[in-house]
Symmetry: C2
Subunit: 125 residues, 2 copies
DNA sequence: CTTCTCATGTCATGTTTTATAACATGAACC
DNA sequence: GGTTCATGTTATAAAACATGACATGAGAAG
């Protein structure tokens, strides 16, 4: 994952900030989550924490609703997009040879150590 | 201000998030503010809200401290940088003619209306 | 015209997070 | 030994948030 993608997916914004950035109420934001349209992280105190990607998603949902699409429809749209992504992904993987896969896996494992500290990756061990 | 600069200067992060991103304690973050090294915004409820620029600044402060520079020294460094910026800025302005200045001022005023709604710019009026 | 559903509003209650101020402390320095 | 600096710790109050329940207005369906 690129640096930019990583920053966009960091869950750092509380719901109050999200309200201001999206002009949605807390009720709406939580409702969309209940309908499985957004998936905020939770911090240690059970508070919802949102990423910039989540913001984009919420603004998108707002647009769809403004267009008259209901939540069931929006859900279908996202399911469709998810299927598309998975298809492209498996297609990419299909074109990799076995040595490729092993090399990629090894590289990913080598990278793990640099992303956080050991305790965070292995809590209580 | 460019779109990117604007995003980096949006005060959207609560102190808890800043603690995790910078690995500083709340005590440290507030102390650096007390020493005029960072200037977080406050929200309606008097909570400090930080921007990405603030995060950078805090990480920088941490580095300076790790290098053995004390807060008085860090303050001097930032004052110096500020003077440099002001000098370059006034140099740029000096090269503008009076009509230039008037045009720029007018353009900035014209842009104000598009950035927020009227009530926000003129609360209670 | 009633009934139902959907998206959202509102309210009550409990927990978490933050602000502020005060006192405490360890290291470095004189 | 006494000061200063950067930070820790604690107490107290206020703000923000989570959850769950009940309310509601608009539209669809009967």
């Amino acid at each position: 994952m690129s640096e930019k993608e990583l920053r966009r997916s960091l869950s750092v914004l509380p719901i109050g900030t999200v309200m201001k950035l999206t002009d949605l109420t807390a009720r709406q934001i939580r409702y969309y989550e209940q309908q499985d349209l957004v998936f905020p992280q939770r911090n240690d105190g059970n508070r919802r924490m949102y990423s910039l990607n989540d913001i984009d998603r919420l603004l998108e949902i707002k647009d769809y609703l403004d267009e008259g699409i209901n939540i069931a429809g929006i859900k279908k749209i996202y399911e469709q997009q998810k299927r598309e992504r998975q298809k492209r992904q498996s297609e990419r993987e299909r074109q990799l040879t076995d040595p490729d896969v092993r090399r990629i896996l090894r590289d990913e494992l080598m990278n793990l150590g640099g992303l956080g500290d050991y305790d965070q990756l292995h809590p209580g061990s």
